[in-house]
């Protein structure tokens, strides 16, 4: 009985140890506590939690730590600590300088600078157009867009820069002859007027059309002057109305009296006035 008991106890003890070890190694599902996520550990023979060597971190824990890593905010160096980065200023080559000088002169001399997009007109059409425009004194200019844009952003005409995309041509003229330019453009279908800078004012296509419909400067000035003087002239007329009326009546009276009584009518009229 006793040896059986001892054997039984021993076996039981071993079983228990074995089972507990199995439990520790295989899965913790055997002891689910509330609120725990079921973690399956597939470690064959696990070392304990606290070991003397560096235990390889479990993959899930590795992932969690990677995701929740602390990334400190980037420390900004105090201003003046480092020299400022050298600005990459590309020096213009000689051709660009030349073109820019030309452009400057162009903008100063000419009153109209119109930007037109041409969709690949052939040289014949271009020649015809140039000829027709030259009769009115308008010149056609081609400039590379990059150079133009870099020139424009330095000058006051920076708002023209978005117009210069794609195949563009410049029409420049010393006098504001917009009507003729529009009529010539209408005859060639592939030229599209995008905008113009007239007298240092940027106008859209519709603005150009409206500008062409304006009457000339003298007419407009005359209209302005007449509008202003109309008011003052009305006031003056109203003030002078009464004495003018009185003098007209008296003159009429004198005329009536003089054929009847030339001697009496004259002194009476003199007394009256």
């Amino acid at each position: 009985m006793v040896p059986m008991n001892a054997a039984f106890i021993c076996r039981h003890f071993l079983n228990y140890v074995f089972l507990s070890k199995m439990a520790a190694t295989l899965c913790v599902k055997l002891l689910p506590k509330q609120g725990w996520l079921p973690l399956t550990q597939s470690v064959r023979h696990g070392s304990k939690a606290v070991t003397r060597h560096r235990k390889p971190v479990h993959f899930l824990r590795q992932k969690l730590m990677a995701v929740t890593r602390y990334i400190p905010p980037p420390r900004v160096a105090p201003p003046g600590a480092y020299p400022p980065p050298a600005e990459q200023v590309q020096e213009d080559n000689a051709l660009t300088v030349l073109i820019k000088r030309n452009l400057k002169k162009l903008f100063q001399e000419n009153k109209i600078i119109a930007v037109v997009q041409n969709n690949a007109s052939n040289s014949e059409d271009m020649m015809n157009l140039k000829y027709r425009l030259h009769k009115h004194g308008i010149t056609v200019k081609f400039f590379p867009n990059q150079v133009m844009r870099s020139f424009l952003k330095d000058s006051i005409y920076c708002n023209m820069a978005p117009l210069l995309i794609g195949p563009t041509v410049l029409f420049v003229c010393k006098e504001p002859k917009v009507k003729e330019m529009l009529m010539t453009l209408r005859s060639s279908p592939q030229m599209t007027l995008l905008g113009a800078c007239i007298d240092n004012t940027l106008l859209s296509a519709e603005g150009v059309v409206a500008y062409s419909k304006l009457p000339s400067m003298t007419v407009v000035q005359g209209q302005l002057v007449s509008g202003l003087t109309m008011l003052t002239s009305r006031t003056a007329h109203m003030l002078q109305h009464h004495p003018a009326h009185l003098s007209a009546l008296l003159q009429q009276y004198v005329k009536q009296q003089s054929p009847d009584n030339s001697a009496e009518g004259a002194p009476k009229a003199e007394e009256a006035t």
Binding site: Q117, N119, A120, S121, N122, N159, P162, L163, I165, G166, P167, P189, Q190, T192, L193, L194, G195, S204, A205, E206, G207
Partner: protein, 108 residues
């Protein structure tokens, strides 16, 4: 695609093309390039009856390409967020679909 790699467009099945844009906006680059491609001499020589009309406005509206085909179908492309290639390939594919017989003959 052999067809879209060619620079020219065949406009045989197209009645007219209207392109509306506002040049002062920043999103018109692709539309303008499309206009340049479609309005070129080579493209227009494939079909003299096809009109290419460019309307320049100033009302901050979006750039729109409106194509009317010969059989009445309309293709409207809003070019604000499209690239030139996409517009061109869409247009080209539809042109070829509309006109397969003459295209096939030409390719053969």
């Amino acid at each position: 695609m052999a067809a879209s790699s060619r620079a020219t467009v065949v406009l045989k099945a197209v009645k007219n093309i209207t392109i509306r844009f506002c040049p002062f906006e920043s999103n018109v680059r692709s539309t303008r390039e499309f206009l340049a491609m479609v309005g070129s001499e080579k493209a227009r020589s494939t079909n003299m009856n096809c009109e290419v009309i460019a309307m320049v406005k100033h009302d901050k509206s979006e750039p729109v390409v409106d194509i009317t085909y010969a059989d009445g179908e309309r293709l409207v492309m809003k070019g604000a967020k499209l690239s030139t290639r996409e517009m061109f390939s869409a247009f080209q594919s539809r042109c070829i679909a509309k006109d397969p017989q003459s295209q096939a003959k030409a390719k053969k």
